[in-house]
Symmetry: C2
Subunit: 356 residues, 2 copies
Amino acid sequence: MGEWGADFDTHKTQIAGILTAWGMPAENAEKTAEVMAWTDLHGIDSHGISMLTVYHRHLGNRRLRMEATPAIQSEGPVNALIDGDGGLGHAPAQMAMAAAIGKASTLGIGIAVVRNSAHFGACGFYANMAAEAGLIGMVTTSASLIQVAPTGGAEARFGTDPLAFAAPGAPGRPFLLDMATTTVAAGRIRNKANEGLDCPPGWVLSKDGLPSTDPLETQKGGYLTSLGGSPEGSSYKGYGLSAMVNILAAGLSGATFPTDPQHAKKPQGMDIGHFFLAIDPGMFRPVEEFRAEVAAFCEALSATPPIDPGQPVMVAGDPERRHAAERSAKGIPVAPGLKAKLREIAQESGAAWHLG
Amino acid sequence: MGEWGADFDTHKTQIAGILTAWGMPAENAEKTAEVMAWTDLHGIDSHGISMLTVYHRHLGNRRLRMEATPAIQSEGPVNALIDGDGGLGHAPAQMAMAAAIGKASTLGIGIAVVRNSAHFGACGFYANMAAEAGLIGMVTTSASLIQVAPTGGAEARFGTDPLAFAAPGAPGRPFLLDMATTTVAAGRIRNKANEGLDCPPGWVLSKDGLPSTDPLETQKGGYLTSLGGSPEGSSYKGYGLSAMVNILAAGLSGATFPTDPQHAKKPQGMDIGHFFLAIDPGMFRPVEEFRAEVAAFCEALSATPPIDPGQPVMVAGDPERRHAAERSAKGIPVAPGLKAKLREIAQESGAAWHLG
């Protein structure tokens, strides 16, 4: 154990061990653990090992099939459709982005979609796969939890509906944007509630769709806001991006839209869809020239005179890389409450315990 | 003349006449006028005929070549690169989206970029071309005017950097999102100044990067905000989207990035790049099924119980279609001040006057 927690490999082994104990085939458990451990290493704690407590709740029901064996269902020169077989999304998502990358490496562009899937962790992992292959990557996913009202509406129609985009630049410093299309993720509102603080204006709405700063609003029938926060702040743009995310992820793959009465209510699976796009800049100009320009662009953004001299301007991907550097050195922290829960889950499942 | 102004064809003829008088080849003037008149018909007054007053300022300098003859410079099975030849962007942009659509109709996906271009009007026109061909369309463009600081920064690095996305749904009702990645466009801030009103919080920043509600801030060295409006409102997301827009539009095409000291300073042309993507949903599922689901999705969003019973929930594209229906019936209005200026420009250029 490092100063803060287990190293990457141990952390990953722990995750894979629990997934295997739950009946996930070893190869898929390895792939899934890879994504989840990467996510924790990069500081996105909401989407890594902590999700095991959520997946655990679905064990034994048919909404999340641990024994799923995702497979390519159809493909063409630039496209692939993967069926997730009702299991977790991490393995089919890796399969999909790998297919998109393979096709882009041949024809210049590749597109893959996954249907019949579930939570797949952080979008950024898959977009980053493309950047590591020297390609632009774009990823979206639909969601099962519906908690966002469209601008002007007083009923939930959307999830947090994330979008990731990556482009290769300087070695080790791709541009990597991974964002929910809501103003903030549910976790940040929960943190305010835990600290007894109000939310800033523009984060949440009451069940009647009115502005609120009460972090408990979503537990009283209220909603998260779309990026923009309010009609004056152009929340119709966040709402529009959320619709775009769903058209790409659910519409192309044939997963049900979040507005469908059947959404996430089918007897089997979580009915989530994912979208993956890979673009080779080499179609248009020498790849090294493109990379050098993206690198210079990111450099120039970092070099923007900051408002506060103590807080340099960041570029998408920088905060996560800072976490990864720290955690590579000190280990991946798991908070005591979460660790206790995970230990119970491991024991109950018959998985070995590695996290100390 | 209709009750409000000229009909579409007369409006378009007026635009084409002025462009031709300025030396634009007839075929390109026709294409450019088509985009600009469509834009006015759809109520996007900031990007239609009013832009002639801006283009007029550049006549006779080498930054906007009216005699430009854009052409495909290189292409592959799924991709095309167009050189705009230093002229307005409307004609090369139509050429590019037509190429992307053609390639998508064959292989399922098509991508085209334009370099050495200038202002091309509203992104939504080109995304809509894809939707009318039964395809998903995505369009971005870089900008020449730099007026947005990255989150945490106190120097302009970006333009309003728009993004459009369209998908075919019910006949005549595609999903059509066309948005700047800033909180609002410069025109809405100018309107507040003209009315002597403050901006809502989150629209503008002072030259030191501090929040302001002064609509004259951008004339004093201040900035527009990225979508999100403030760090608490997650403006880093709007900032990230703006960077994505530039990587796609400038990075792939080889136009200079807005952070490049040479940006928009080259002796010839405005040095703007555009990006166009077309995706055939038929790669993955029957197109009619996809369209029916997008149509049902848009219907369900419209049917969301509204906060205010007098203001039904809108779907991206609805406000523009409402304008188009009204203006098709009553004519396209041109405000008196603008009309007087255009009349002067027409006279000076030797173009016939059709707008009454």
